[in-house]
């Protein structure tokens, strides 16, 4: 399978940490899943390792959410295929800091 160009939208703190302006566009090899997208993102921006998922368990950090195509994909299995419109680059894969008051 050829590499696919995926658009990723990061929250402000992670854009600052990774020195990114705007959205990220990354080539993802193989099936486009939460895991493959995050693997590609961390490979390009190593400073993001550990900020979205645990270093060891690879579990999503509790206050990090994954949205796309008006759906909350946070609880999807990490190897589940992402929506076609994300795969085709029509929609971004959004990594979001959960809302918190106070």
């Amino acid at each position: 399978m050829s590499a696919t160009l995926i658009r990723i939208k990061l929250p402000q703190h992670l854009r600052t940490l990774a020195r990114i302006d705007g959205q990220v566009e990354l080539h993802v090899d193989g099936p486009v899943t939460q895991r493959s997208v995050l693997d590609a993102l961390e490979a390009s921006y190593p400073m993001l390792r550990g900020t979205m998922r645990d270093h060891v368990t690879q579990q999503r950090r509790a206050f990090v959410r994954f949205f796309a195509c008006e759906q909350d994909l946070s609880h999807e299995p990490p190897d589940a295929p992402l929506p076609d419109r994300v795969v085709t680059g029509a929609e971004p894969y959004m990594i979001v800091g959960a809302m918190a008051g106070g």
Binding site: L14, L17, M47, M52
Partner: protein, 371 residues
């Protein structure tokens, strides 16, 4: 011309306050890492341009930042703090076993001689070491694997290793303090550790004189006299003259011996500073008066230092890492408050001025004396 650089970590970013040796006019830069909790922000004594910062938050976890140009530019370092081996469990608040889980870095302690050697004290309590300036971290596993580890319990602020004191005379000796386990000392660069809590007494634990289980808040040492340690405990101000083998109460005439930071004058090893706080349930100064207390006798006899500090309606706290001294001829003393003020004294505490008044809550204050 000499000068000072005060490194301030707050709940919402870091700030750099600089002045010349007179310490009258200050330049305030920041926030760096805005919006993040900066538990500790410090410099290498071996290379003043080498700065380290612990950046963390509930959303995105832990980041370690390093600067090699005195804070002009920063690079993220390794942020993987993985416990060695099978981590096992410590005790949870209810007494049940709880797996060791990394939460954040509370304190970074750079070596006095090697800018690439730095220690990190973390929650859940453990000590990590980097020999390459933070590019990789390895746990100093002998501490957590001290036989008492499974019995350590968190204090109200979490089970954190918050204090690291390196012995300038002996690179193999260091002290750590853990809430709420106590002080541990190694004499072999971290391979083996022993509890150093004899003489401590704590209310609120089943055996008040237990070897382990004390809520030590902070330690201080004067580099010229590394066998003498000063301690601010949950309650009690203590002193050891034998490298932590035993401790004596030096609270003396303090209005309250509860507090968080403790520090030693740069040139007078028996001049000690504390900030008394009303009680464990009232984390603000007695009577709404912010007073630093100084002992010039190594404890027991204390004098309030009030000139320039608010003496009415003041209900801030001063956290354990939020006090520091410079090493200019007239020793400067600095502390930050949970109300966002950073106070400086250029005359060893006789008088104080606020450098800034409206920062986020201050978590840490460190000072670099620049030649």
């Amino acid at each position: 011309m000499s000068g000072v650089r005060v490194l301030v970590g707050t709940r919402k970013g870091a700030f750099v306050l600089t002045s010349d040796g007179k310490r009258e006019q200050w330049d305030v830069k920041g926030p760096l890492f805005g919006g993040w909790e900066m538990y500790h922000f410090t410099g290498s004594p071996a290379d003043p341009d080498r700065l380290y910062a612990s950046q963390s938050g509930g959303w995105f976890g832990q980041v370690i930042q390093r600067s090699d140009d005195g804070g002009k530019t920063w690079d993220p370092m390794d942020n993987e703090f993985s416990y060695a081996g099978v981590p096992g469990t410590h005790q949870w608040y209810d007494g049940t076993p709880h797996p060791w889980e990394f939460a954040r870095v509370w304190h970074l302690e750079p070596s006095a001689t090697d800018p690439d050697l730095v220690y990190a004290g973390v929650e859940d309590a453990a000590l990590f070491r980097s020999v390459d300036g933070g590019k990789q971290w390895q746990e100093v596993r002998g501490l957590r694997e001290h036989g008492s580890g499974p019995h350590w319990q968190p204090g109200a602020g979490g089970m954190c290793l918050h204090t690291i004191v390196l012995d300038p005379r002996d690179p193999g000796r260091m002290f750590t303090a853990i809430s709420a386990a106590g002080v541990f000392r190694t004499d072999d660069a971290g391979k083996t550790w022993r509890a150093s809590n004899r003489g401590l007494h704590s209310e609120g634990i089943p055996d008040g004189d237990a070897e382990v289980g004390h809520c030590v808040h902070n330690l201080a040492m004067h580099p010229s006299r590394p066998d003498v340690l000063f301690m601010q405990k949950h309650w009690d101000v203590m002193r050891s003259d034998d490298g932590g083998d035993s401790w004596q109460d030096i609270g003396g005439d303090l209005p309250t011996d509860f507090g968080f930071p403790i520090d030693v004058h740069a040139h007078e090893p028996d001049t000690v500073y504390v900030v008394p706080i009303t009680s464990d349930s009232l984390h603000y100064p007695p009577d709404g008066k912010l007073r630093v207390y100084r002992s010039r006798t190594g404890g027991n006899e204390w004098e309030p230092l009030t000139k320039g500090l608010p003496q009415r309606d003041c209900y801030v706290n001063v956290l354990r890492d939020a006090m520091a001294v410079d090493s200019l001829d007239s020793c400067g003393v600095y502390f930050g408050t949970t109300g966002g003020q950073v106070y400086a004294s250029a005359d060893a505490g006789e008088s104080w001025e606020p450098i800034v008044r409206d920062l986020p809550a201050v978590l840490s204050v460190e000072v670099q004396t620049l030649k």
